[in-house]
């Protein structure tokens, strides 16, 4: 319950915050006009912080980036990659679902007839413009073939704008060169059932 002292000076400032009543003494009290006690109090705070940090450097919140990395969640939406069939070809069937779903209009696909009658089409071109992409992950959701997914890759700085246009070969193969965890992946299981359970169809 509230803590209120027996005597409250009419000059005192009473602060009510939730259940706690804080009584701070009159800010205009003559001895507070010197400010030096308050200054000394402030100096004590900073010195304590510094000493604590000096002897407990592991306790500091700093993440020393290139050596240490923040552990992002498994649904992190980083750079895309195209999944392959066992034969090494892309699983993509050039259905344009992702390009249609893309709000940034950054996916460019040219489809063509596939020689194998089991596979309807395949992409001749599959480009993603990394500078236009807003990393929303709608392409991953839209894909009926689970052919596109995202990784936790976020280090893609470059000196050339051209480097950000990822073509089919690059999207298929870049993960061979760089080890990076899977990020946002297509939903596994019955998506409609899941949506029903969440109440949003």
């Amino acid at each position: 319950m509230s803590w209120i002292p027996d005597t409250i000076d009419p000059q005192d400032v009473v602060v009510v915050r939730g259940d706690d009543t804080l009584v701070s003494s009159n800010p205009d009290a003559w001895w507070k006009q010197f400010y030096l006690p308050a200054v000394a109090g402030g100096l004590a705070v900073t010195l304590r912080n510094m000493i604590v940090n000096l002897f407990n450097r592991k306790g500091m919140p700093t993440i020393e980036y290139p050596e240490e990395r923040r552990d992002y969640g498994h649904r992190f939406r980083g750079r895309h990659y195209l999944k392959k069939r066992p034969s090494g070809e892309p699983r993509c069937v050039a259905c344009m679902m992702c390009a249609t779903a893309c709000p940034a209009d950054c996916i460019y696909i040219v489809g063509a007839e596939h020689p194998d009658p089991e596979i309807e089409k395949y992409p001749v071109r599959f480009d993603i413009d990394g500078l236009r992409c807003i990393m929303c992950g709608y392409c991953v959701d839209a894909c009926p073939e689970d052919a596109i997914a995202m990784t936790k890759e976020y280090e893609w700085a470059s000196y050339d704008r051209e480097d950000f246009i990822w073509d089919k070969e690059y999207l298929l193969n870049w993960r061979d060169e760089k080890e990076v965890d899977d990020g946002y992946q297509p939903f596994e299981g019955d998506i409609d059932k899941y949506r029903m359970s969440r109440g949003n169809l």
């Binding site: 402030g42 100096l43 705070v45 900073t46 912080n49 510094m50 940090n53 000096l54 450097r57 500091m60």
Partner: protein, 360 residues
């Protein structure tokens, strides 16, 4: 001509100059790392030479290299002559101030008396104040010549601030001058070697506690350090008077600022903390125990330790207190610090006149 004497003088000048000059990068390092640890950060720890970072001490070296090789840029709208003169006007007084600070007791070697200060001027403290007030010209000149509104405002603030606190600075020392009966810094330090009531060192901070507080406040204002860094005030004035300066010219301003800090710390130590005095150990006893040169070195160490503490104090205060508002600064200087300094002089005079035996 006394060639040995001249050589000793030159040597002293060089040693003191390079000591102070090299303190600047170390101070910058302490400032950045210290502030980082106060704010739960790590601070600069990346720059290295073959993997040696020395807790970030290599960073100032990299900064110096950067300053050296940056483009020397003079804005077209600036007044070129004064623009180039201003950093020099600020740095020269800042480097000259250290000449009168005694770093150790007078050394007698082979019949030669060596004062452990670059110049044993008989006007002592007045020389320091004279040069200290010169530094405002550099700042005002920089603000004016840059022809930039932020620089100009910084210059105005600086001049107003310096004038307000110069008086308090001078007046707060008057009590010390009365008690030790000297303006020569060497004699003031000698006077602080005695003991009060046989137990407490007769340091300025004991005999003049109020003067110490006022002097420290005024020194902060003179050195343009927070909470009185209105001439710079990065969030209002970009960086104030040196907004238009780049490369080495900016570095000169930076150096002058830190040198002013060193001057301030040295003055506080000399006037209020016994200078090179080691408490309860008299200079004669020390010389008899370890010989003259080690004694001088020990005293230099004592001086340096006190000075380093106050340099840290400057940094510590900077990362604790917020900046004053302009009118608050003026109010504080004229309505509080100045009257208190005057009252201190008055009370000290009364005590000295009526209670001669009390303090000795």
């Amino acid at each position: 001509m006394d060639w040995t004497g001249a050589a000793i003088s030159i040597l002293k000048a060089f040693v003191v100059f390079f000591m102070v000059l090299n303190l600047v990068p170390v101070l910058v390092w302490a400032e950045r790392r210290g502030s980082a640890f106060i704010q739960h950060r790590l601070g600069p720890n990346r720059v290295n030479i073959f993997g040696i970072t020395l807790f970030g001490l290599v960073q100032p070296l990299a900064d110096v290299v950067k300053f050296m090789f940056k483009e020397e840029y003079v804005p077209a709208h600036a007044n070129r002559a004064f623009y180039l003169l201003a950093p020099v006007m600020l740095l020269v007084p800042a480097t000259m101030t250290f000449a009168v600070i005694p770093l150790a007791d007078t050394l007698v070697l082979g019949g030669r008396t060596i004062h452990m200060q670059v110049a044993n001027l008989n006007i002592g403290i007045l020389y320091v104040f004279a040069l200290g007030s010169l530094s405002v010209y550099g700042i005002v000149m920089a603000g004016w010549a840059s022809n930039n509104k932020f620089a100009f405002l910084g210059g105005i603030r600086s001049s107003a601030q310096m004038i307000s606190y110069e008086l308090a600075l001078g007046l707060s020392v008057v009590g010390i001058l009365m008690i030790y009966g000297a303006v020569q810094l060497g004699e003031i330090v000698n006077g602080q070697g005695e003991l009060l009531f046989g137990v407490i060192p007769k340091w300025g901070v004991v005999t003049q506690p109020l003067a110490f507080v006022l002097f420290t406040i005024a020194v902060f204002a003179e050195a343009n350090r927070l909470p009185f860094d209105l001439p710079e005030a990065e969030n209002e004035l970009v960086v104030g008077y040196h907004t238009e300066y780049s490369a080495m010219k900016f570095a000169l301003f930076f150096m002058a600022e830190y040198m002013a800090m060193v001057t301030g710390a040295m003055l506080i130590v000399t006037l209020f903390f016994g200078g090179w005095q080691i408490p309860w150990v008299s200079s004669e006893a020390l010389r008899a125990a370890v010989g003259p040169i080690p004694a001088a070195l020990l005293q230099l160490g004592s001086f340096s330790a006190k000075m380093v503490f106050f340099l840290w104090f400057f940094i510590w205060v900077r990362w604790t207190l917020p900046r004053f508002r302009y009118d608050q600064l003026m109010d504080f200087g004229w309505k509080i610090v100045l009257p208190l300094a005057l009252a201190n002089v008055f009370v000290t005079a009364l005590v000295l006149y009526f209670g001669q035996g009390l303090l000795s």
